[in-house]
Amino acid sequence: MKKLMNSADDFVDEMLDGLVAAHPSLVREERVIRTTQGAKSGKVGIVSGGGSGHLPLFTGYVGRGLLDACAIGDVFAGPSVDSCMAAIRAADSGQGVLRLYGNYGGDRMNFDLAGELLEADGVRTTTVLGTDDIASAGPEDMHKRRGVAGIIYAYKIAGAKAEVGASLDEVTAAAAKAVARCRTIGVALSPCQIPGASKPTFEIGPDEIEMGMGIHGEPGIWRDKLRPADRIADEMLDRLLADPVEHSSKRVSVLVNSLGATPLEELFILYRRIAQQLAGRGLTVVQPLVGHYATSMEMAGCSVSILSLDEELESLLGAPAECPFWRV
């Protein structure tokens, strides 16, 4: 796969340099991106992080009403312990910091270790893990599920909660509620390639799709011939709505997200069907999102996320927020 890059080893650092050059609201310090103003005094901090290769995730969501700082690793590798520590420090104004990131082994080791090392300095941290990918484990193994695109809802909701002066526990509870009420499923059409790797993350036939495949190419639920968009949308929605959500509600937000190469045209074709189907089930869509929100570089495919709202979540979702890739 062709990449516009200089070298695999410089891929992430050059990407980060470009990101902050284009977005003066962001500052780079090694493998940490934070807001230019720094931790807002009196506000609980929120950090996230993960591997590179998922832009706008994770660094692109640093901004007012969203993340305060973000630790970023090599492509598809966790952020280093140092980066996690630095991100937490950057986000801390003394009110404590929520670590809000996807449920992946490497990321957890690093954020956990960072938190333990900082405890000695009196930094208070809590953790909420994104676990929205319903294809990665059954409902009985909810805690084993991976975090994918739906985590941006948790960013938004925790960010809005922190913005109004809520305590660390309250912000943590809001993030946990957002995760608990969000479900995502993806479908993959073509792989991507890690810079420096000798081949793509997986192979798939020229007429095949894989339902439920993960954003790093983790195997999904089935692989079969491509079928009409409406049938794919229906199956994704059926699976999402069949997954049990405590207190599921009649008002939802929907995110139809490109994994990279899938163009907006196709996302809108899917969204059209999803909106029809949700309306048919008596569900009202609030603040839908259609676009590139969490990608795997040049991978083709998409994910659909549903966030089941309650009054609190809906008002937090609608609160003003601003980062380079999302503004409310």
Binding site: A8, G73, D74, S80, S83, C84, G106, S136, A197, S198
Partner: protein
């Protein structure tokens, strides 16, 4: 006799060279069950570790500490983070000493295995780097002759790879590929064997 700051630095340089040579092979192994980056991660990590092992330290604990610090800043991959915690553990074990006696080597590795399991959540039998480390730590327990240690370590490493090849991976990214992973070496175990293989036994004295 034991592991000194000098021997350790030399071993790290050799490991960096081994990681460079094994980069493609490890990427390919990880490509079959994971995301294909074990090799590139390890090569980059050991480049940085090799640069971080400063030549004027006599305190072996201090050398392990700088290796741990370099690793903590250089990598966040699963395997890389396990290297970080290993180095930090060995630093704690050897702080202020000029050598780690060979007779204590096995028990030090057992501590490393334990922190790896605590940090990563793996259990024995999951087919990860932890299994080969456990086998080595157990096999060399109490041995004091570095040549014998190396020979035993190499033997059980090969045997462990053989023994696990036809089992499914139960942890990490490879877990998702449990069935597919049967018949394949775990990339972390394979990485361990390549690094060990590259250590010149005559240096281990």
């Amino acid at each position: 006799m034991g592991l000194t700051a000098h021997t350790l630095r030399h071993a790290v340089a050799q490991a960096a060279e081994s990681a460079r040579r094994a980069e493609d092979e490890l990427n390919a192994a990880d490509g079959k069950v994971g995301d294909g980056d074990t090799g590139v991660m390890l090569r980059r990590l050991f480049e940085k570790l090799s640069a971080a092992a400063s030549p004027d330290q006599e305190d072996i604990g201090a050398v392990f500490q700088s290796l741990g610090a370099a690793s903590a800043s250089a990598t966040g991959s699963s395997l890389g983070t396990l290297v970080t915690v290993s180095m930090l553990t060995l630093a704690k074990e050897t702080r202020g000493r000029s050598e780690l006696p060979w007779g204590e080597f096995g028990s030090a590795l057992q501590k490393v295995r334990d922190v790896m399991m605590a940090r990563g959540g793996a259990t024995l039998g999951d087919k990860t780097v932890v299994d080969v480390l456990d086998a080595v730590a157990t096999a060399i327990d109490g041995l004091a002759d570095p040549r014998e240690i190396y020979a035993r370590a190499w033997l059980v490493t090969v045997n462990t790879l053989d023994a696990f090849r036809d089992k499914p991976n139960r942890l990490g990214r490879a877990r998702m590929f449990a069935e597919k992973s049967i018949g394949l070496d775990d990339p972390g175990m394979l990485a361990f064997s390549r690094l060990l293989e590259g250590l010149e036994p005559q240096n281990v004295r």
